[in-house]
Each structure stands twice: as structure tokens, then as C-alpha cells.
Amino acid sequence: MLTIKNLQAKVGEKQILNGIDLKVNAGEVHAIMGPNGSGKSTLASVLAGREDFEVTSGEVDFLGKNLLELEPEDRAREGIFMAFQYPVEIPGVSTINFMKTALNQIRQYRGQQALDAVSFLQLMKEKMKLVEIDQSLLSRSLNEGFSGGEKKRNEIFQMAMLEPKLSILDETDSGLDIDALRIVANGVNKLRTKNNAVIVVTHYQRLLDYIVPDFVHVLYKGKIVKSGGKELALELEAKGYDWIKNEAAVA
């Protein structure tokens, strides 16, 4: 589904990604872990198309398309979804209107008819249950005055609505208490199928207790320095990141 080859990117003069190689197939969950400043969130942002970053080298193929050539909205329409680490507050735009616009833009791109009000509402109600989010929250201005947990739940609600092929969760666990974490993770798990894939970017192992990865990759200084199964995450939790840093230094 996604093939990243030697991806390098910088922000301003600062090189952050130093050659990432990664392959994600349909049905898989990949966790990207690593110490602060290793480039985890940059990787997520580059895939979603954030313009602050300049890709200096490498290729990203997503379902046969050159992802790096696409505008952010076209990436979303092709099936990429990033759950933001810091969801933006937008006064005056309700989540409901926002989602209706987004969904119909995506449907239009795919040559489908716009959803009428009734079908949209029906779909929304169904997805609301999945992430245990209240309709009153969705009628309010997007993320405005939401708690940390409500913002993250809203991200997963959007993911449920847009049914992406590849979801990238950027530090979705940050700022969540254990109950909110469970709700968010349950939502993600219910959305998993054999046809879609998830990349979980996280600093801590605890989210991976709920969203169990098939592969764990450790990012350090802009490179994947170690890959393994879910047991690698547990090892990191027990031993910290220092041994990885030492290994990388030796190599």
C-alpha cells in the first residue's frame, strides 16, 4: 500500500529525516517509536502533506501514485488520514458541517454523488457510537473549548467518517487519561479491516497495549534504526531508548 524509499526532509535549514525506508501493506498496523526529536511527527506530517517541510530526496508510493506530488486534499481523497497531535480549534465551523463538506469533497473526487442530509445524519450517528462522542459536541465549533480527550475522540470520529485506507495517528495518546485512551483505541480497532492500514506514531508503549502493532520501528536521528515485532515495544518500555542510541552510535 505504502512504500517509502530513502525519504529525506528538512524544515528551514534543519535536516530532520535522513533516509527513511518503510513498507506498509493492507491489513497491517505499524508503530513508529523513538525518543523526542527523532523525527516521528515530521514523518507523519510529510506523509499528510504539511507544507512546512521540504522533501529533499526519496520517494513515497501510495497505491501506485507518487504521494509527494499530491496536494494535501488529494492525499486525503486518495485515502490518507492523519489524526493530529494538536487538533486545530476553528471557531464558527461546526464539526458536522466540516465533515459534511469533507465527505462530499472526497465523494466528488471519487465520482460518487453527494450524500443527502438524511443519509449523512444516519452515517454520522453510526460513527458517533463507535467513538462514544456526543452529537452536542459535534454541533459546536470545531474543537473550540474541547478537552484534550474530546479533541482526540473527534479526530477518530473524523477518521471513522472518512474511512481512509491508511491512517496515521500522530501521538494520539498524548494528553489522554486511561479511559479516554481506551475509548480512542477501541474506536481505531473497530475501524481496522484487512483492506486498510494504520501507522501509530507514539513515544510510549501504553497505547500499543490497546492497538496491537504487527511491526514496531524505532526512529532515531531521522532514520529507522531498529525494526521488530510487538515485543520490541515492550523491550523499549523496560529498557528506555538509551540502548538504541548506543547501538546506533556503534553502528
Binding site: 499528510a48 502533506g49 504539511r50 507544507e51 496536494e71 494535501p72 486534499e73 492525499r75 486525503a76 481523497r77 488520514f81 492523519m82 493530529f84 487538533p87 486545530v88 476553528i90 471557531p91 464558527g92 465551523v93 458541517n97 466540516f98 465533515m99 459534511k100 463538506t101 469533507a102 465527505l103 469533497q105 472526497i106 473526487y109 465549533s141 473524523q158 472518512l162
Partner: protein
């Protein structure tokens, strides 16, 4: 011989001031000749404002008038035969229509009974009710302080006198349409409104300014609203003129004890629009909300000068003006708040927020607070900037095309100012105007 270059150091308004004077002396007025003469004396003292005057620094109105208009006492004709396109759909209202500064009996329609509200033309009121009119006219507007006010009081072609008796709740709004038709030549129109809300009364007013035709239009408008004890005025101004229109409006609203005021000013079009809005809070426990939105593009210059004068204690004023400037448009905002020594326990808030959509658009904003009382709560803030990149990215990352994302954000920013508008029909109309301007299509 080389042609003489004009001397740039002399005020550019020299010639036009003479022309205006000549025009005044040649005009034959039906009513209020003495009143006009004394007002014109004030105008002659200063003439039109030059760019050197602080109040008109960013707004070269005199230059525009000199360049585009000839001043004779001739009035322009109009062949307009329907005003439907300029009405607010489904607004059940008293309709008062001015075409090129003259009251149009045939297009106007008064539906409220006289026991609720008395509406006359100003010249009619001058004849039938001269002592009442004279005791209010120009008492809160000051022709000696602003040349356009003086000019208006001297030249006004026609106007309205609106009188709401004590405890009358006027159930239908008063809709005033100022239509200028420059199809057959330039138009200079000068109109005037005097409104009095007696104790405990309630009125909603909508003023709409439109122009058609390709020739230049200058509209000089003045009005005074006297809002007495426990009265409530809703006031909305919609300025949607064509590209060659120059407009100056001077509005002063005077509030007495326990009165309530909501104003909203929407500026969408025109070459140059200058609004002077003054609120005199001359009473205790008053509440005043005044909101404004200038949504301009092309070469439009929209200038809002507002003054809130807190003269008595325990009142509350809240001002919020927002601007979106596209193309080569310019915005000017100046907000003065005065809190006089007696006006203790005043709460006065002001905010002015601006978004520049294009690189060649500009905004000049200046809050001015002068506070002489010591026990008050006042705040002000102004911001100018571009659309938030992070918000744009957020919307786009969900599949929304950039132009639609932009429209969504601008619409959300702009529509906040509609919050205080009570009349749902009016609100829907304004909402549609804003949506249409911002190409909202979602």
C-alpha cells in the same frame, strides 16, 4: 513656453470649495433656509478636509470628489421603474425609498399605523412640526465639527422624520432604501434622517445604500437618533454600492437612562465609504452593542470611524468590527472610547480584527481610549493578519479543496458579527450576502 505645473503645496480642494459655494448660492430650497445658511457658514470655514487632517489621513475623499464630480445645482434624473432587486426578500417592513436624494412616494409604503410610529419626509415635518424638528435637529450631530455634516445640513434634498411615541413597540421594521441611479450622469445626493424614540419605545431600522449606472455617485448622508429612557433601537446599515460610488455617512445615536442599542454596519462595495458613527451614552444603565463588518475587494476603501462617549455611570458598551480585505482594497478603522469623569463603573469593550487575503490589500487600525474616570473596566484589542496556515492545512488534510477551505474560514470569521441581529429574515439576508461574497459553496 512650458505649461505651468500646478502648485502642489496649495490645498487640492481650493477650486471645488468655490464650486460648492457657488452651487449653494444658486440653489433654491423649499424649506429651512435659515438653518441651511448657518450650516453652510460652518462648511465655508473649513471647506472639504484635506489629507493633512488627522481624521481623514487615510481617506482621500476630497481628492476623489474633485477628480470625479462637477458641482452645479442640477439634479440627476432616473428612469428606474422597479426597486424589487434592492429590497430584502420577505422582510415585512415599512418601505421608504429615496432615489437620487429625492423621496419616492410611489415606491414607498408605510404599513405601521400612525399610533405606532409617525413617518414624514423631513421637509413636510419642517412645515407641519417645525418647533419639534428644530428642537432636535443638529443637537447631537455637530455641523461645526465635520465639514460633511455641515454640507449635508446646508444642502439636504430630502429626508425623513421618524417619531415613535411613548411606550410604542413598532412591530414592523422601518426599511430605508437610498438608491442612486447614475445611468444618465453623475449623481450627488444628500439625505438626512431624524429619529426620536420616546420613553419606553422600540424600533428596528434597516438602511440600505445601493447605486446603479456607470457614472460617479456621491452620497452624503447624516442622521440623528434620539433614544430616550428605556427605549430600544435596533439599527442596521447595508452598504452595497457599485464601483464608482463615494459615500460619507454621519450617524449619531444619543442614549438616555436604561436604553438599549444594537447596531450593525455592513460594507461590501463602493469606491470609497466613510462612516462616522457616534454613540453618546448620556444615561445610566445603558447597553450598547455595535458591530461592523467590511468585506471589501477591488479598489474599495472602507473607513469606519467610531466614537463611544460614556457620559454617565454604570453603562456598558461593546464594539466589535471585523474586516476582510481582498484585491487592492483598503480598510481603515478608528475607534475612540471616551469615559468622562462622572462615568464611574463603566464597562467598555472594543475589538477590531482584520484578515488580509491578498498581498496588495491593506488595513490601518487605531484604537483610542481616553478615560477620565478611575473605577471602570475597559479593554481594546486589534489584530491584522493572514488566514491561519495551520487551520487551512487541517481542513485540506480532510479532503477539502484549498479555495473551499479558505471560504469556510473566512465565512466563520465574518459571520460572528451577525450574532446580535434579532430579525431572522434580516439575518438570513445578511448571511447570504456574506456567503455570496466569500464564494461559500458548501
Amino acid at each position: 513656453m512650458k505649461p505651468l505645473l500646478p502648485d502642489m503645496s496649495t490645498p487640492i480642494t481650493r477650486d471645488i470649495n468655490n464650486e460648492i459655494a457657488e452651487s449653494f448660492h444658486q440653489s433654491k430650497f423649499d424649506v429651512a433656509n435659515d438653518y441651511r445658511k448657518s450650516a453652510f457658514a460652518f462648511f465655508e470655514k473649513t471647506g472639504l478636509p484635506t489629507a493633512k487632517q488627522e481624521e481623514y489621513r487615510f481617506t482621500p475623499i476630497s481628492k476623489g470628489l474633485e477628480k470625479n464630480f462637477t458641482w452645479d445645482s442640477k439634479e440627476s434624473t432616473s428612469s428606474i421603474n422597479s426597486i424589487d432587486a434592492f429590497l430584502i426578500p420577505n422582510l415585512d417592513a415599512n418601505i421608504l425609498v429615496f432615489i437620487n436624494g429625492r423621496y419616492s412616494e410611489s415606491f414607498s409604503k408605510i404599513i405601521s399605523p400612525e399610533s405606532e410610529v409617525r413617518i414624514n419626509t423631513l421637509s413636510e415635518a419642517f412645515r407641519s412640526d417645525s418647533s419639534l424638528v428644530s428642537s432636535y435637529l443638529d443637537k447631537v450631530l455637530h455641523p461645526e465639527k465635520d465639514p460633511f455634516t455641515a454640507m449635508n445640513s446646508a444642502f439636504w434634498q430630502e429626508g425623513l422624520f421618524i417619531h415613535v411615541p411613548e411606550n410604542s413597540n413598532v412591530s414592523k421594521p422601518v426599511f430605508i432604501l437610498h438608491l442612486n441611479d447614475a445611468g444618465e450622469g453623475q449623481v450627488i445626493s444628500q439625505t438626512k434622517v431624524l429619529g426620536i424614540l420616546e420613553k419606553g419605545s422600540q424600533l428596528s431600522v434597516v438602511e440600505k445604500f445601493n447605486s446603479i449606472g456607470l457614472n460617479p455617485v456621491f452620497h452624503n448622508f447624516s442622521e440623528e437618533w434620539i433614544v430616550k429612557e428605556k427605549s430600544h433601537l435596533e439599527y442596521c446599515k447595508i452598504q452595497n454600492d457599485t464601483g464608482k460610488s463615494y459615500q460619507v455617512t454621519n450617524t449619531v445615536i444619543h442614549q438616555s437612562d436604561n436604553s438599549l442599542l444594537n447596531t450593525f454596519t455592513l460594507t461590501l462595495n463602493g469606491q470609497l465609504v466613510r462612516n462616522n458613527l457616534g454613540i453618546v451614552i448620556d444615561g445610566k444603565q445603558c447597553e450598547s452593542h455595535f458591530y461592523g463588518l467590511y468585506l471589501v475587494n477591488g479598489n474599495t476603501l472602507a473607513d469606519n470611524h467610531t466614537v463611544v462617549d460614556h457620559k454617565k455611570p454604570n453603562s456598558f458598551s461593546n464594539e466589535m468590527y471585523k474586516g476582510i480585505m481582498d484585491g487592492n482594497s483598503k480598510g481603515v478603522f478608528n475607534g475612540k472610547i471616551f469615559v468622562r469623569p462622572h462615568a464611574q463603573k463603566t464597562n467598555a469593550f472594543q475589538s477590531n480584527r482584520n484578515i488580509l487575503v491578498s498581498d496588495s490589500a491593506s488595513i490601518n487600525t487605531k484604537p483610542q481610549l481616553e478615560i477620565w474616570a478611575d473605577d471602570v473596566k475597559c479593554s481594546h484589542g486589534c489584530t491584522s493578519g493572514q488566514l491561519d496556515d495551520e487551520a487551512m492545512f487541517y481542513l485540506r488534510s480532510r479532503g477539502i479543496a484549498a479555495p473551499i477551505a479558505k471560504a469556510m474560514l473566512l465565512y466563520a470569521f465574518a459571520s460572528e458579527v451577525l450574532a446580535p441581529i434579532q430579525n431572522e429574515t434580516l439575518k438570513l439576508y445578511l448571511d447570504n450576502l456574506i456567503a455570496e461574497r466569500l464564494h461559500k459553496n458548501f
